[in-house]
Symmetry: C2
Subunit: 358 residues, 2 copies
Amino acid sequence: MTQPIINLTRGMPPPEVFPTEDLIECAEAVLRRDSDVLLQYGRSPGYVPLRQWLGQQYGVGPEQVLIGNSSMEIFAFITQTLLQPGDRAFIESPSYDRSITLLRRAGAQVVGIPLEEDGPDLTALEDELKQGAPVLIYVITDFHNPTGITTSLEKRRRLAALAEEYGFWIAEDAPYRALRYKGQDVPTLWSLAPERVLHMSSFSKVLAPGLRLGYVVGPAEMIATLAQWAVDTYIGPVFPTQGMVYEYCRRGLLEPNIERLKEVYRPRLQATFSALEKHLPQATWTRPEGGFYVGVTLPEGIEMVSLLARAGQAGLKLSDGRGFFPNSSNGDRFLRIPFCSVTPEEIAEGVSRLARIL
Amino acid sequence: MTQPIINLTRGMPPPEVFPTEDLIECAEAVLRRDSDVLLQYGRSPGYVPLRQWLGQQYGVGPEQVLIGNSSMEIFAFITQTLLQPGDRAFIESPSYDRSITLLRRAGAQVVGIPLEEDGPDLTALEDELKQGAPVLIYVITDFHNPTGITTSLEKRRRLAALAEEYGFWIAEDAPYRALRYKGQDVPTLWSLAPERVLHMSSFSKVLAPGLRLGYVVGPAEMIATLAQWAVDTYIGPVFPTQGMVYEYCRRGLLEPNIERLKEVYRPRLQATFSALEKHLPQATWTRPEGGFYVGVTLPEGIEMVSLLARAGQAGLKLSDGRGFFPNSSNGDRFLRIPFCSVTPEEIAEGVSRLARIL
């Protein structure tokens, strides 16, 4: 009997959560109403009604909002406009592997700041600052990828103060922020240092990733710089999908969709904790209150290479934890569990298989 | 009495040609059928059914097709993957100003090859080759932007042979190719040297620019390299619009749409020739058989700066011709007339105003 493979590698929503019929209705309505704009060349920084709507969510004008074809590419534009080869850039260790790649592609000297239970290790950060301030630091403050950690308010305040003191930029990547299953929101870094923070988010986790619709909120001059870079790259981002998302938001559908997603994802997070407690008491793990990921640190003595091989034989697909660390000699015992993309039953079975091969 | 401003700056379709209702129907059908794919993360090189459809048009498999969010950005990826700072890159002089910008952004040493009535000046090109082969040459072989010129078959054959002899890449940008109002197609450069040519095109001119849907056809290994660069930039291009365009093509709507566009644009090209003959006999101009542009060389003694100022006073918006030349000391007498975006009456009035201020 072959057992079905359980895939714990991808931080993606399950397809059953997509509000397809609502998006079809929105596409029809907005294209019929505004095709002259949505089908024509439109410039970066994006569809004005959606920029206005997003600005209202943050209490800023549209001149402080740029829309792009994914927040990932917006971060690429940030690295391309801010960084010169050899510049220092700090990033949490571990962090989102694709962001590490983009910093390196821009020629940055990437410095990993160890992540603690309540956010970056600020003592390590200040030690690094003494050796040379970075041009920017990239952080995922809410329900961090890959660990699920949320940075405490105290650490956010200190990070904001250091950014102002040393004059570096903070790229705050917040795609998971709206998906909080318990507890209270912590103020964004952007709200604490609006002149030093570029706050990025997207509709990938709260609506649908295929839209590739990301945005950044920041100081108007920096938004203008990014907009010029974007114009010189592709003229403007894809417009019909911006229209669909604007219509979806304008109709008040986003908030109920987020509430629905929370009802789907909350039991999956709980199932992850239960499975870890039952099958892997010898490991340690983070205790996120939202987002997509739980970060697991396996017992000492684990080697990632042999673990991945044995997992494959047991019908379990895992991400190589080392990929999330700027210095890949770390991460040999680190596993990311992306609990949203699998059912509670699959989570239980996956963690049980993991325990068996350890 | 204020006269309405006539805008001769933008190479864009007039909004009345957009097939909005057909696109709405296609969006509905394809999203309902394939939302699990179109709303999910999808990888570069793009939506498989559309890559297959495009491949069939060129007689290649989907592994030779990459879709991106505009052919302009695909060209950015080509420059980023192929060029190192200081590398030589050739471009027709004049050429599309945004492509010159992208080559410079990649650090290329940009060399302009004068454009003649039947394509690049190959004597000048061979002289430059002796001083050092480029990594790539960027050409717009059909209904060139900004001149409207189509490169002759003889010159295409020689260009293809030189690319093979010297081992450089040819980026063949062909967004206007399908819009031929008279005469016969000339074989693509890609068909003459498929191992050395990256053939780019898009749906901007034959369907709608707001879709930002471009593609490149080339050798499978080079497509794989570009796909990896694209994955590392934005994971995948925007998917719902790819689905819409695929459905539009699958239903056989693209060819009739192109025929309809030709009926709209053909009289505009004719009106441009008539107005130039009537009002500007002292100028010279190209005789394109398709596309979006007629290139006009004004009589000697014209200075672009004062011309633009006087045009503004006369209610006429013109593009600065110097922007199309890699060496902007050229172009002082060059004007691009983008005839598709204006009615025959506006063309006649615009050229008449131009004649008055000269």
